[in-house]
């Protein structure tokens, strides 16, 4: 672990950006978003909550060219550095690793993107009202899953190696200084405060033993939904996709695009039968998928508590009111 002053971090990022594409969070009004490094570092945004869009856009983009026919697709994926993801988004990567990076068939595009992506996560010292990572047993700081981690302090940052390549990076650079006792203590206090804040925000919420069965409960919960599906597209753990083909000069190109289980045609088969013909059954399915089915295989929820689904919802549907009580 090392301590970096703000200007030392700025200098490090400037050097990295000389050879690699670097993304980091910038605040615009109320929102924080990833943008390409523009010569400035927004320290306020680095210490803020997760950006509006997640790491999904870097690893599993909304649309990706995955095959061409009859000739095999060739593409090169650039090296990228993303600074700023919080634990909720690092957990999203953990979920995607289970879907795209494991099993008999693996997604080479996801794996290549992941290999080329260097992640510098940041503690989340000031969770917002929409945050609930504590309810899904996560902490507002990262201990695994990124390459390096930054803890914002008043006068700079503590930087920790997380992965093997993060450790090598840190050792090769000889950055900053040995952290002082006071700085270590400041980190401990900052993390404690963040956790206490989450507990305060989500006070009294208890996980339901089981998702309710009765339709009345669900009808009440989905009231006001305009079926915009931003809850699904903004979700760092939603991974549904669709392959579709477009005619090319010779043969065709195959594109993998995000899909959403809320679409009426999502599960419809060729003959017209639809296992989830009404929105109620599709609405329920999302919760069963995230909180029951994924858990059966991976022992954890496909939800990171980032709160994007409720922040983006025009009907103010709060996932916490459904899964917790």
């Amino acid at each position: 672990m090392r301590f970096l002053s703000r200007s030392q971090l700025e200098q490090l990022i400037r050097r990295l950006a000389e050879t690699k594409t670097v993304y980091l969070p910038y605040r615009t009004g109320e929102r924080i978003n990833y943008h390409r490094y523009d010569g400035n570092v927004d320290h306020d945004a680095l210490a803020g909550i997760r950006p509006t869009s997640s790491l999904k856009n870097f690893l599993f983009p909304p649309s990706e060219f995955v095959a061409s026919f009859p000739k095999e697709v060739r593409k090169s994926i650039p090296e990228q550095i993303v600074i700023g993801p919080k634990q909720c988004d690092i957990y999203g990567v953990w979920v995607y690793d289970r879907i795209f990076g494991q099993g008999e068939f693996q997604d080479p595009f996801y794996l290549e993107r992941k290999k080329q992506l260097f992640l510098i996560s940041v503690d989340c010292p000031t969770p917002a009202e929409s945050c609930f990572c504590n309810l899904v047993d996560l902490t507002p700081w990262v201990e695994a899953g990124s390459d390096l981690n930054l803890t914002p302090l008043d006068d700079g940052y503590l930087i920790d190696p997380v992965s093997k390549r993060g450790k090598e990076f840190l050792e090769s650079k000889g950055l900053g200084s040995e952290p002082t006792e006071g700085q270590l203590k400041a980190r401990e206090e900052s993390r404690k405060r963040a956790m206490a804040r989450l507990e305060e925000i989500n006070r009294g919420k208890r996980l339901r033993e089981q998702l309710p069965d009765d339709d009345e409960f669900w009808m009440e919960k989905l009231d006001g939904c305009v079926e915009c599906f931003s809850c699904l597209f903004a979700c760092p753990t939603c991974y549904c996709f669709l392959l579709y083909d477009v005619k090319a000069k010779k043969g065709f190109d195959r594109i993998r695009v995000w899909d959403a289980c809320y679409y009426a045609a999502y599960a419809r088969v060729g003959g017209g039968m639809n296992p989830r013909p009404d929105f109620l059954s599709r609405f329920k399915n999302r919760f069963h998928c995230k909180f029951e089915y994924f858990k059966q295989y991976h022992d954890r929820f496909a939800c990171s508590g980032c709160g994007r689904c409720l922040k983006g919802c025009s009907a103010n549907i709060d996932i916490r009111e459904i899964v917790w009580q």
């Binding site: 549904c240 669709l242 392959l243 060729g270 089915y293």
Partner: protein, 273 residues
């Protein structure tokens, strides 16, 4: 990239198209681009139109060809029906789990098919007949809408000659040529002459038929884990990622496409929708 691209189909060509019924055709490929076991499926691409999942209908042990019997129902199948011998197709697979034929040794095998659902069952039947000594007896119960809608009319006479194979067919509505039973397929399931303790049932057909046949088989005495059902689901990737084919905790593409009644009978969702 180190990992093989699972989204790229292999090119293959159409060799022959056999008209089975007015809406069902068998598409014969000019080679066997991929190996499969009975029950596994492939993703077939009509270039520029799209891809859809099908279970081959030919003998998995045939080293030279692969056949798919397909009903015209949607976008991809309609485009398929426009193709001619020599036209280019794409294929990837095989995907899903095969029928556990080895575990059926010494048993009676009770096969029930409806309509184009006979396609994967033909592949299974041919695989079983290749090692017919391994099984006590094989039964085939098949129902179609009318005599015209029966698939493999040219093949049934041959199968009827096989001693260990007991076949009964029915049609919902007969005509002047039809001598057999009439009524939906459950009418020929009133008598199921097997020892339920040493039998398995295999069913493939439209969802409504699957539902009533399953109910009948359970009532007759088959244990839930001995009833193998082909689940038709929307599939995109075929490799357990895209989530379209989800049925409860299962990916039908990866855990199926054949699931036992035991696996799905207590799901919150209706498996036959």
């Amino acid at each position: 990239m180190a990992v093989k691209n699972p989204y790229t189909p292999l090119p293959c060509r159409l060799k022959e198209v056999i008209e089975e019924t007015p809406t069902i055709r068998t598409f014969v490929l000019d080679s066997k681009p991929i190996d499969f076991e009975a029950g596994q499926f492939v993703e077939l691409t009509v270039p520029g139109v799209g891809e859809a999942p099908f279970t081959p209908s030919s003998n998995p042990n045939d080293p030279e060809k692969l056949e798919l019997t397909i009903m015209k129902v949607g976008r991809v199948t309609s485009a398929l029906f426009e193709l001619k011998p020599g036209d280019l197709l794409g294929i990837r697979g095989p995907y899903g789990k095969p029928y556990p034929i080895d575990s059926w040794k010494g048993k009676e095998i009770f096969i029930v098919g409806g309509g184009v659902g006979m396609a994967p069952l033909r592949s299974l039947l041919l695989a079983l007949l290749d090692r017919v000594r391994d099984f006590k007896r094989i039964y085939l119960r098949y129902g179609a809408r009318t005599p015209k809608d029966i698939v493999y009319k040219r093949l049934f006479p041959e199968w009827e000659k096989v001693k260990k194979l007991d076949i009964v067919q029915t049609v919902d509505v007969g005509d002047e040529t039809w001598k057999g039973p009439t009524g939906v397929v459950t009418v020929i399931l009133e008598e199921i002459p097997v020892n339920f303790k040493n039998s398995v049932a295999v069913v493939c057909g439209p969802p409504i038929m699957l539902k009533f046949v399953t109910m009948r088989l359970v009532e007759a005495g088959f244990a839930p884990e001995t009833i193998y059902l082909s689940m038709e689901k929307n599939m995109s990737c075929g490799i357990g990622k895209c989530n379209h084919c989800r049925l409860g905790p299962y990916y039908v593409c990866k855990d199926g496409p054949v699931l036992t009644w035991d696996m799905i009978k207590d799901l919150k969702e209706d498996p036959f929708l």
